[in-house]
Symmetry: C2
Subunit: 233 residues, 2 copies
Amino acid sequence: MAAYEDEQHRARAERILAVAQELLLSWGYKRVTIDDIARRARVGKGTIYLHWKSKEALFMDLLRREVAAILDAQLHEIRAEPMMVLPHRMFRSMFLLHTGRPLARAILGEEADILGALAPDRLAPSLARVLGLTTLLTGILQALRDHGLMRVDRPLADQAHAIEAILSGSFLLTKLPSHEVPTLEQQADILAVTVRDAFERPEPPDRATVEAAAERLGAMLDDMRTQLLGKLS
Amino acid sequence: MAAYEDEQHRARAERILAVAQELLLSWGYKRVTIDDIARRARVGKGTIYLHWKSKEALFMDLLRREVAAILDAQLHEIRAEPMMVLPHRMFRSMFLLHTGRPLARAILGEEADILGALAPDRLAPSLARVLGLTTLLTGILQALRDHGLMRVDRPLADQAHAIEAILSGSFLLTKLPSHEVPTLEQQADILAVTVRDAFERPEPPDRATVEAAAERLGAMLDDMRTQLLGKLS
DNA sequence: CGATGACCATCTGAGCAAGTTGGTCATCGA
DNA sequence: TCGATGACCAACTTGCTCAGATGGTCATCG
């Protein structure tokens, strides 16, 4: 039965991806061979090439799934509590979701040796671009502006650039060597206050507005998530 | 005559530093040898070791002088126009001064291959720490707060962390590959507006306050500059 | 006909030799 | 007498080579 076989097929892909993720995190991209993955996933090496056209494609899928998982988490937060769409809460959560996940940290360049040759030019932000996060950011800001949850006294492009800088900088400070660092929670709070002061409107938004925005942003995140997962295999 | 000989000595050190800077910018740290420098400065190789105890010490002096030069430029701006102490103007200027100077850009990690082994762990912010910029930042913020030029509704340490993140992120975005980037001036303006909105008080400061702050910050910058240059040789 | 692993062209990196370089210090000459 | 010098050397780097590993293919199998 075709449906059953497709299910088998999917399950096998999942198993391979799980193995790949585990090995990636403990050994790093370079050191993980397709043979290792095949052996541990108990499939033939050729089988992996029935799913992905190259080693790089396999690992790029891994990264896309990681981003999709984060979007999913954020989506659930918003669905559970619409107030999470307030910019300072959204970006605070985004910061914590990224810094809390080893693979996400690798994408952001935390440990260059994990992704190694995968990160095109060793610049975290550029990998983020490849994954479409910059586009997503612009979309989010547009929605927030439309619903009156952000100031509109400067161009959207400027706000996007500024927020990108704040986020990049926050992630960067995260991986500074020794030295009395605030906890991740504290860093997230600092980020939140800065975002609030620099981008939110002074008057508190009313409930209905927030819910409408939550609806729209939820749809947008869901869309993005689907799109990322759709590129799979 | 001792004074004369000291003058000779200083002049020779300057010549060596000038040669070192020129070669550093065109060849990068690794490729510049002490022999190259000695030959071009027309001194014996051993002579260089009468001034600095190692190649690294020589180049660290170079970096300190670069930072001192930037502080000096900022100092002059403030002395010429006290209004430059307003946070958004100060950091705007700091951004442009750094991005406009090749050596400063190298310190900030723009071109990793220029400093190479000199940058302890390839992390620009950490080199900035070595050069004492973090301490300077805290000092500046304290002064600005004391003179009522910044909000005081969050802890100073938090503001320092936030501004460090914004600056680091701005510098980072500066070196992104291709892609429609704003000009440096535009990026500086975006930074300025963000700093204004997130850290300045809403009401405009009066002239006397600004002049007092300018006085204090001028002294502070001068001090820092002297201290940096004092470590020379 | 999907799955497999032996197979191969290409790549990687350990290991070595030859060349360089940072730093020292015996010597020089003012 | 003492600052300046460059020959010298140990430590490191670079370029090279080749055995072994790796990504990807495809004839064969069940």
